[in-house]
């Protein structure tokens, strides 16, 4: 079976429970089990080839450019781990079927479990480190889901997050490490990397890469100081714990260290980091495990310890160490899975996992007792179980290791750790099964059915068999995998009995002392409890809590919703970056002479500066600010006239009046005064930023104005062709409707959309809460009588036709003289607005026959249609045409498609301006103001006769 398919089968299996979600536990378990079994069979089919020393690979290109390929390999190491993952997985699937209750979402459980299984298989089968990383992170994610499976338990959620955080962190470090490794080796392919030992170890980046990769491995394998997540993960359902912490997740780190052992090991860095960490973790985990009361906590810390032991063995960098490590991986998987399942059974049956509430189950649950005891004894390293053999090998390696010139240190610590292992194992047995039967178990414990017992039972059988016949049962696998790691072709000698040697003596002593420690557990516990010790979980929680608080503080402080903060930062950044760009460049001499300052200009300048200064000083009086805006606009318009930009002047001044009207409409509601709310310091800082901006912007303008263009500008073409090609004398207008008509098309769309936005928002304000607010609105202003003064009404009625004529004139002449569709549109809009102001909204609205919306839509479509008309002549969008025509008795006149386009502009402008102002005034009318139309039923003021 292809390695890819083997890796894929669990993922396929993950889909099934989801699809069969209503079918219940059996279907889910069977389907998942089948997939697992298939994969296992597929894997086992490769055993002969692997035993021959072959490496089976298959590869699919995925991201060839960076060397991420979906490559798979099966060698001895993959085989070992694959068998563990799938084999124990199969047992877990079975066990979980009986462990989970009907109320649990079983479909989810199996999906997560299969996802996890697939991820693990991916790790062990990957032949590309980047590809391996994918699965590596997937195990973190799927274990997050598994650990948090019981969502209602706070411990479950916390444990899941903690596991994700720690292993996720390691995974991230590993990404960097793997990429460095791949860059040194020139390939991410594991086969290639394994060949590059010299290059890697000679690289200056070897140590960083090593550290980063080990960070990944240590976090995953719960090595000190990252060991704390593992016990927290015990909140998961027991089948999960049994799976993750015996055979799979935590072993991933070990797998990785073994996988990269050929290229990373053998250096002092490797030895001191890996072996030391492993040794210390072994001791630490064992010690802590002794003082835990929760069965699963004991097992968890024991796992930490046992993993430390394997790490230590790998860290030795010797072949013997690897063999012992590999063998212990197998042994640990068997007895630890059995132990977790036992603990699960106890929990399931007795209703508690706390040893304070347990004891004496030997009589009530004899089969469980036997299974648990055998497994625990193996964990203790008791003859003749499999744990014994690998522990002996470990002790043998340890006492022959010299650490920083201390030949004994390693052995002594290993021996102490072994003693504690004995102690917690024995305590597990005694605290659970031995002692008097109690009458206060939460439930009524008895042996469960075969469904729950089968898996641990089978594992215990293996424990015994491997112990008795290590070569037969596991020798081949250990050989294959150890050789895959070391690259050698040796046949390890696994034997139960090596004669009486130092390790055996140590073991014996450990057994005795361990038993004594269990006997004197109470005083030891008291000492332990009295010892001040950092609780890793507390520290982690505190770190995370602080980090989150800090992040919240930074986030809240930074994004505090103050506009001035953002705008000020923006302004300062712009000025600083712009200035930096300027000073790092070169600015040649000022080539243009200054124009003389005429008195007119001087007066205008003084007015502008005074008005601008007043604006800053008096802006709190809002109406005055508006008046000042009017003045500034007026002067700017005059400046445009002065600076040869009549079109701009027309546009600016007409836009300004509409803007002022808009603001007046809004100011009707808004407060009329802006109170002083900022301190002097803040105002000073703002003034500083403002000054910076002013200086920079003015300076830039000055620098530009005093220099000539480096090249001819493209506008020379426009000047030359405005009449010849565009048929108009007003170059600005021809530019707008022809050379750059597309800009104008976008521009009128903007205007139209603006009106739509305003309309839409008004509609929203006129419903719901805001509408109720408006209905009860109290204006803060005293109102005069005479809404529609007679003289005003009459005058505006006369002005309307005149200004329409003016608008038409501006429109028609725009192509050749200042003006055009935009200004014309504004003039017409303003003259219509005059009617609204003078005679009232309802009165004017009654006379308004074309809906403004339609005018906008029509404007955009007229402009677009004019542009598309060009297509019929096979020329691009907006290609203009014009011609001169002559009617009898009259002069020649010009017709241009640009005029049709300008008509679109005109319509859009009128529609948009009117719609916008209309919408605003509708808000005002919603505040309960009557209109002049519905008021007709009111009696007109009586005219006393005597007045005549």
């Amino acid at each position: 079976m292809s390695p890819a398919l083997i890796a894929a089968l669990p993922f396929l299996g993950a889909l099934l429970p989801g699809l069969l979600i209503r079918s219940g536990r059996n279907v889910a378990a069977i389907s998942c089990g089948t997939m697992t079994l298939l994969a296992l069979i597929g894997l086992c089919l490769h055993i002969p080839a692997v035993m021959d020393g072959q490496v089976i690979t298959s590869s699919f290109t995925w991201l060839p450019r960076i060397g991420l390929d979906a490559s798979f390999r099966i060698d001895g190491l993959s085989l070992l781990f694959g068998i563990l993952i799938l084999g124990i997985g199969l047992l877990i699937i079975l066990y979980a079927r009986y462990y989970l209750s009907k109320g649990d979402p079983v479909g989810q459980f199996y999906t997560y479990l299969m996802l996890f299984q697939g991820a693990m298989m991916g790790i062990v089968l990957s032949d590309n480190v980047l590809f391996l990383l994918v699965f590596w992170e997937l195990t973190s994610l799927s274990s997050f889901l598994l650990i948090g499976y019981w969502k209602h338990l706070p411990e479950g959620r916390q444990g899941a997050r903690m596991a994700l955080t720690v292993t996720g962190m390691g995974g991230l470090a590993m990404i960097a490490g793997m990429m460095i490794l791949g860059n040194i080796a020139g390939s991410y392919n594991i086969g290639d990397i394994l060949q590059a030992k010299e290059a890697i170890q000679a690289s200056p980046l070897y140590v960083p890469a090593l550290l980063l990769i080990l960070l990944g491995a240590f976090t995953k394998s719960a090595q000190f100081p990252f060991h704390f997540w593992l016990p927290q993960a015990m909140a998961a359902p027991t089948p999960v714990s049994a799976y993750l912490h015996s055979a799979t997740m935590v072993k991933a780190g070990l797998f990785l260290m073994a996988r990269l052992w050929p290229v990373l090991s053998g250096t002092p860095e490797w030895f001191y980091i890996v072996a030391t960490t492993g040794l210390f973790t072994m001791l630490l985990g064992a010690v802590i495990a002794l003082f835990k009361d929760d069965l699963k906590a004991i097992l968890a810390f024991s796992t930490v310890s046992q993993l430390g032991m394997v790490t230590m063995l790998l860290g030795l960098g010797t072949e013997a160490g690897v063999i012992a490590a590999v063998f212990h991986i197998i042994n640990h998987a068997t007895f630890k899975a059995a132990l977790f399942m036992t603990a699960g059974i106890v929990d399931h049956e007795a209703g508690t996992r706390s040893m304070k509430l347990l004891g004496g189950l030997r009589k009530l649950m004899p089969i469980t007792f036997i299974i648990g005891t055998i497994a625990a004894l193996s964990m203790a390293g008791v003859f003749p179980l499999n744990g014994f053999i690998s522990k002996e090998m470990m002790l043998d390696d340890a006492i022959h290791t010299s650490w920083a010139g201390h030949p004994q240190l390693f052995g002594i610590i290993a021996a102490i750790a072994a003693t504690f292992s004995v102690a917690y194992s024995l305590r597990f047995i005694s605290g659970t099964f031995l002692g008097p039967v109690r009458d206060d178990y939460p439930h009524h414990p008895h042996d469960p059915g075969l469904g729950l017992l089968f898996s641990p039972g089978l594992l215990v059988v293996l424990v015994v068999l491997i112990g008795l016949m290590p070569m037969t049962m596991a020798g081949w696998l250990v050989t294959a995998s150890a050789n895959a790691v070391t690259g050698a072709a040796t046949e390890p000698d696994l034997a139960l009995w090596h004669g009486v040697n130092a390790p055996l003596l140590i073991s014996g002593a450990a057994l005795v002392i361990g038993a004594l420690m269990v006997a004197f557990h109470r005083p030891l516990q008291r000492i332990w409890d009295a010892l001040p010790r950092p609780e890793a979980k507390t520290i982690f929680d505190a770190v995370i809590r602080r980090a989150v608080r800090w992040a919240q503080a930074v986030n809240d402080g930074l994004h505090d919703g103050r506009l001035a903060r953002g705008a000020g930062m923006m302004a300062a950044t712009i000025v600083l970056a712009g200035t930096f760009a300027w000073i790092t460049g070169r600015a040649g001499p000022e080539t243009r002479a200054m124009l003389p300052i005429s008195p007119v200009a001087a007066i205008g300048f003084v007015l502008l500066i005074v008005a601008t200064a007043c604006m800053v000083v008096f802006h709190r009086n809002r109406l005055l600010a508006l008046v000042l805006i009017g003045i500034v606009g007026l002067i700017v318009s005059c400046a445009f006239v002065y600076l040869s930009a009549p079109d701009l002047a027309l546009t600016q001044i007409s836009v300004e009046v509409v803007t002022v009207m808009l603001m007046l409409l809004a100011l009707n509601f808004l407060p009329k005064v802006t109170w002083v709310e900022t301190g002097g310091l803040r105002r000073g800082a703002d003034a500083l930023i403002a000054t910076m901006v002013g200086l920079a912007f003015g300076g830039l303008a000055y620098a530009i104005m005093r220099r000539d263009f480096a090249f001819d500008t493209i506008s020379q073409y426009h000047i030359a062709n405005s009449y010849k090609q565009g048929g108009g004398d007003n170059i600005v207008n021809v530019t707008l409707v022809d050379f750059r008509g597309y800009d104008t098309f976008g521009e009128i769309t903007v205007l139209g959309i603006a009106a739509l936005v305003i309309y839409a928002m008004t509609e929203t304000l006129l419903i719901g809460k805001s509408a109720r607010k408006l209905a009860n609105w109290r204006h803060d202003q005293k109102r005069a009588g005479d809404r529609h003064p007679l003289m005003l009404v009459v005058a505006t009625r006369l002005i309307l036709p005149i200004s329409l004529t003016v608008g038409l004139f501006i429109f028609m002449r725009g192509h050749n003289q200042p003006g055009g569709g935009f200004v014309a549109g504004l003039i017409v809009a303003i003259s219509l607005l005059m009617q609204y102001m003078a005679s009232g909204f309802a009165w004017a609205q009654e006379r308004q026959r074309v809906p403004f919306h339609a005018m906008i839509g029509a404007g955009v479509i007229v402009a677009a249609a004019t542009g598309m008309g060009a297509w019929f002549f096979g020329v691009p969008f907006l290609t203009s045409a014009y011609g001169y025509f002559k009617l009898p008795f009259l002069e020649e006149f010009e017709l241009a498609t640009a005029m049709a386009f300008d008509l679109g502009v005109f319509l859009c402008v009128v529609g948009a301006v009117m719609l916008a102002l209309n919408s605003l005034s509708r808000i005002a009318r919603r505040t309960g103001e009557s209109t002049n139309r519905p008021a007709t039923n009111q009696a007109p003021p009586a005219v006393p006769k005597e007045a005549h």
């Binding site: 450019r65 830039l700 022809d738 521009e747």
Partner: protein, 533 residues
């Protein structure tokens, strides 16, 4: 081909125009027209992208004026990709908006949507610097309308800020364009590239200032720190589908940076590496700020918003290298982060609709469809945090790979990887609070019920009173459609992962084209048959 280039601009413009002209009062008709329009738009985008993929650069001379005197539209591979991405996102999110009923929360949703599309498409297609400004404004003004769609005090207030900041941005844009025009005398981007290359040394100060100001404009749009302050409140308060659509808006800024600083101001011009030197530190800080925001998020909308900022940081890190590999990585990441950001906001909206509009990351009762939404959230969060198996991981690898030769690589890698952890923790907390914590409440209630006790008061009573500006599940026209739309985005991410190879080949070819701009310039300025003299 011929006139087809302009279709992505005209099609939505005309549909938008027709909607306001004739369908103002008929939502059903609007929906049909708008959807058909979006489908056609996607078709047009695919058609154009297909043609562009040959490597040919297509030029459309508006008004038949010769370049550089008129405005030209430009279609190359990059434009083609952005068109497709936009049209795809637009269609999917629009379907979400219809399904969720958001489009009936206020007026003119569909018209504004079409105009929004018009603006974005126009920005991607234009070959003229000032025209880019115009279409930026089109897309902005439409986005204002969409952002405040539905109203509500916070949304309107955030809208004011959004508009004001963008007005400053527009002002800056004009200043930059004025400066560049003053020194080069042209607005056409290809022509400007030639002028920049030929610029006498005495004028570099003005040019550099213009180039940097322009970069800052795009950085504002892209929300690069410290120009990002507008983003969190805007995105968090925008209607869900609108925030989702905004995922493409920040990309317009990034697109413009890529376009301008490969074509007009390449590193060997007088601008030198000024822009990339400024972009890189800003991008790193952006990434940090974004991920810190994810870590410290109290509100899912803001978490998603900060995640969007972080993705911009990652993206701009890649951009700032300005190598073909890094631009290719950036483009891949663009697709990824657009889809991811959109998916996150849609999911947040689905949650909000079931929580009375409440996205605070605090204990609330379990929501309807919790499992499915949780699964979607999980997938989107994985993508956002850059974990496998979603495309974020590949994107991250690509960015790491593209930066490995930079002298700052250690800092870059460390920032990217460490901040990823922030994201993992932040999203982990968010997901756990949103989807797991309610089970605790439920369990307590169930136990209480089983024991006949009155259920304890939940810590904070749920806010389930729908206000008019809050989307409620009861307003949804078709929840199925919302799931389908969100699922489509996630499927897009999966496809981007599985077909990362082909995707990267595409972005590689785009980057290659960007780094050999000669054919581009040639097709704009030299081959002008048929244009007016």
């Amino acid at each position: 081909m011929n006139h087809f280039i302009i279709a992505p601009v005209l099609l939505p413009a005309i549909i938008g125009g027709l909607i306001i002209l004739w369908m103002r009062h008929d939502l059903l008709l609007q929906r049909v027209f708008s959807t058909v329009g979006s489908v056609l738009l996607l078709g047009a985008a695919l058609y154009l992208a297909f043609h562009a993929s040959t490597g040919e650069v297509f030029v459309y001379r508006l008004g038949n004026w010769p370049a550089p005197f008129g405005i030209v539209l430009m279609l190359d591979r990059l434009a083609g990709m952005m068109l497709v991405l936009t049209a795809f996102l637009g269609l999917v999110v629009q379907l979400y908006a219809i399904g969720s009923g958001w489009d009936r929360k206020g007026w003119h949703f569909h018209a504004l949507w079409q105009f929004q599309m018009m603006g974005v498409m126009g920005a991607f297609l234009t070959g003229d610097a000032f025209n880019l400004f115009v279409f930026f404004e089109v897309l902005l003004i439409a986005s204002y309308g969409l952002m405040i769609h539905g109203g509500g005090p916070l949304r309107l207030r955030a809208g004011v800020q959004y508009v004001v900041i963008n007005l400053i941005g527009s002002t800056l844009f004009l200043a930059a364009l004025g400066t560049l025009y003053a020194v080069t005398g042209t607005l056409n981007m290809a022509d400007m590239a030639i002028k920049v290359a030929a610029l006498p040394l005495s004028d570099t100060a003005v040019l550099r200032t213009g180039a940097v100001l322009l970069m800052l404009v795009f950085a504002i749009k892209a929300a690069l720190v410290p120009l990002h302050f507008w983003l969190p409140s805007t995105y968090a308060n925008a209607p869900g589908p609108v925030a989702a659509l905004f995922a493409i808006m920040s990309k317009v800024g990034v697109y413009s940076i890529i376009r301008f600083y490969t074509l007009v101001f390449p590193g060997d011009s007088a601008v030198e590496t000024l822009v990339s030197d400024m972009l890189l530190p800003a991008a790193l800080i952006t990434l940090i700020v974004g991920q810190v925001g994810v870590l410290g998020g109290r509100h899912l909308g803001r978490v998603a918003a900060m995640s969007a900022i972080a993705s911009i940081g990652t993206l701009v890190i890649a951009v700032s290298m300005f190598t073909p590999e890094s631009i290719s990585a950036a483009l891949y990441y663009t697709i990824h982060s657009t889809l991811t950001g959109a998916a996150l906001f849609l999911i947040a909206d689905m949650i909000a609709a079931r929580r009375g509009g409440d996205l605070w990351l605090t204990l609330r009762p379990k929501i309807q469809n919790s499992g499915l939404i949780a699964a979607m959230f999980f997938a989107a969060a994985i993508a956002a945090a850059g974990l496998p198996p979603m495309s974020g991981f590949i994107g991250k690898l690509l960015v790491l790979d593209a930066t490995r030769l930079d002298p700052w690589w250690v800092g870059i890698w460390a920032t990217i990887l460490i901040t990823s952890l922030f994201a993992i923790v932040g999203f982990g907390r968010a997901g756990s609070t949103l989807f797991w914590l309610p089970f605790q409440l439920q369990r307590i209630e169930q136990q209480a019920a089983a024991e006949g006790r009155p259920a304890p008061q939940s810590p904070i009573p749920p806010k389930l009173e729908p206000d008019e500006h809050i989307q409620d599940i009861g307003d949804a026209v078709s929840p199925t459609l919302t799931f389908a739309a969100t699922g489509t985005l996630l499927a897009g991410l999966v496809a981007l992962t599985v077909f990362a190879g082909p995707a990267l080949r595409m972005t590689d070819s785009i980057a290659d084209q960007l780094f050999s701009p000669h054919p581009y310039v040639e097709s704009v300025l030299v081959n002008q048959e048929g244009a007016r003299p």
